[in-house]
Amino acid sequence: MSATQAAETALSTRGVRVSYGHVQALRGVDFDCRPGEVTALIGDNGAGKSTLVKVLSGALAPDAGEVFVAGRPFHATAPTDAQAAGIETVWQDLALAPDLGPVENMFLGREVRRRGVLGALGFLDNKAMAAVALDEFAQLGVRVDARRGSVSEMSGGQRQGVAVARAVSWARNVVILDEPTAALGVVQTKGVLDMVRRVADRGLAVVLITHNMSDVLSVSDRIEVLRLGERVASYARADASLETLVAAMTGGTATPATTPDRNEGAE
């Protein structure tokens, strides 16, 4: 990658290959996302999205190819390596502990300890954690009462909000969201998408994996299309329409149309 390219992208891959036995899930995938932008990653079933997400989040090391974080080569053996590199992922199952509250989940595995001897013994600073968590929730518009109740008592949208807020508050470079609106209703979906926009506005790169084309068209700045294990297209939002995206995903050609307005197809 050239120096200028490197400086621009938050997370990139070049020529990544992954095989499961005889099946080639990824056949040399290139991927880019930039800070402050929402990059949607789309593709039909079997295109290799989930495998690519595993590579991006550090859960899987590619058989070949390179991964770059802020232009520097990156090798992950576990998701904690990715977290150390500033990449946070929100998986579809959310990975929340249902019996714990939003604050506890926010700091899961990264609890803030008290100062001094007590802290050395492992005593938690719940007040500090609650203050930070409440602030995060407020900024991201996540509507929960962080002080009470366990996560299992919340609605799907609230839980999504907690999971995203957790990833966002720890991420330094990239937040990857795997199908965040798949299980949500219309109103909750809008809440999540608003949050996604806010996250990007903070300067983080957001990678949004989704099946939902209207989500893609409403919130993303760039769209990367995967097909049969390769990146087949990369659009700026302005250049994309539902037809072009579907055509890219399925391998057909789009009927040429006038460049759509920025907000068409979103609401």
């Binding site: 998701p79 904690t80 977290q83 998986w91 199952d93 959310l94 990975a95 929340l96 502990a97 249902p98 019996d99 714990l100 506890e104 899961l108 595995g109 990264r110 609890e111 300890r113 013994l121 492992g122 005593f123 938690l124 930070v132 409440l134 602030d135 995060e136 929730f137 407020a138 900024q139 518009g141 996540v142 509507r143 929960v144 009462d145 962080a146 009470r148 109740g149 299992s152 008592e153 919340m154 609605s155 949208g157 609230q158 909000g161 966002v168 508050s169 720890w170 991420a171 330094r172 109103v187 909750q188 809440g191 806010r198 903070r202 300067g203 983080l204």
Partner: protein, 348 residues
């Protein structure tokens, strides 16, 4: 964490549920049901049996009767919170006591030197056996019920091999005095059990170790992804349960003066009952030490009260079973009510 200044003041987080009156907060508290049950039993027995029930000697009896079981129950609470189970605590208690007794008899001596060596031996024995359980559950991925059931048999069998099948006596004199001794009228054994409960409760609810314990029981996969060393943690939880069983074994020696090999086969179930009565969930992720203390007290109060009331002790087991089922049912109702409430109020 990356943070910017708050973007707007209009997004004040609303509440998931109305706070309700202070009375509501009491009745909705997770320990409400079991505490009420205990208080109800005490009141009932005081009415039926008169003030002897609340006399100092009687309360002291009940406290002493529940102490060793409480120590076991505390360890088992930790295990249940991780969605595990420990059927072996009674046998580990026996085995640790046997080994401790053999060592102390071998050393001879009636003083604290011998007694403390015995204590160390018992605790280490228990810890080692507990760690074996934990290793098999955490690293070999075996079902905790099967593993601890195996340990239940193996530890007891080993104890019988070591003693040739008969109970051993002959603890140092200071231990016998300690087992009967009191500090300001409170038996030492009760003090130790209380200390164990306090330390365990504080660790469980105020430290990262305790927090991780809940996380593992609530969603093991989430804990793994959060970077918590789940396997190491789980193994150490079972080691703690074993360690406490070893401590209980030594205390049992000091109270009874004998290894009592045949007398601990039901301990694990009684300990688990105490934890579950106290609100620990078999699915993991939920439990308190305070609840376990109360849950442990209920069968003790029942046993004592029924004898004084003149009812055959068989009824005690029946009533304990009924109380357990009722407590579980009421707890389930409380959970249903709370989730229905949050469902109605979800806005986002």
């Amino acid at each position: 964490m990356t943070r910017t200044a708050p973007s707007s003041t209009t997004d004040l987080p609303p509440l998931t549920a109305p706070r309700g009156t202070p009375m509501d907060r009491v009745t909705r508290h997770p320990l409400f049901v079991v505490s009420s049950a205990l208080i109800g039993l005490v009141v009932m027995f005081t009415i039926v049996n008169g003030w002897t029930f609340l006399s100092t000697p009687n309360i002291r009896n009940m406290a002493l009767a529940g102490s060793i079981m409480l120590i076991l129950a505390v360890g088992v609470t930790y295990v249940i919170i991780t969605a595990g189970f420990d059927l072996s605590v009674g046998s580990v208690l026996v085995f640790s006591g046997v080994v401790s007794m053999i060592v102390m008899r071998g050393l001879g001596g009636e003083g604290w030197g011998t007694a403390l060596v015995g204590l160390l031996v018992a605790v280490v024995c228990g810890c080692v056996l507990g760690y074996v359980n934990g290793f098999l559950v955490a690293y070999a991925d075996l079902n905790p019920i099967i593993v601890t059931l195996g340990m239940f048999g193996a530890a007891l069998g080993l104890a019988q091999v070591a003693t040739g099948g008969q109970d051993l006596s002959g603890i140092p004199t200071v231990m016998a005095q300690f087992g009967l001794g009191r500090l300001v009228e409170v038996p030492w054994v009760v003090i130790i059990a209380a200390a164990v409960a306090v330390v365990a409760g504080v660790a469980l609810h105020y430290t990262a170790f305790g927090r991780h314990t809940f996380a593992i029981g609530s969603n093991k996969e989430a804990a793994v992804r959060a970077g918590i060393p789940v396997r190491r943690h789980l193994a150490s939880i079972y080691a703690i349960s074993g360690l406490l069983a070893g401590l209980a074994g030594w205390l049992s020696l000091s109270v009874y003066g004998t290894t009592n090999i045949a007398g601990h086969s039901l301990d694990a179930l009684n300990a688990a009952t105490a934890a579950i009565l106290g609100g620990a969930s078999l699915f993991g992720g939920v439990g308190t030490i305070a609840g376990t203390v109360i849950g442990n007290a209920i069968p003790i109060v029942l046993a004592n009260g029924l004898v004084i009331a003149g009812l055959q002790s068989f009824w005690q087991q029946v009533v304990t079973g009924v109380v357990l089922v009722v407590a579980l049912y009421l707890d389930r109702l409380r959970r249903l009510r709370s989730s229905r409430r949050s469902g109605k109020n979800s806005a986002a």
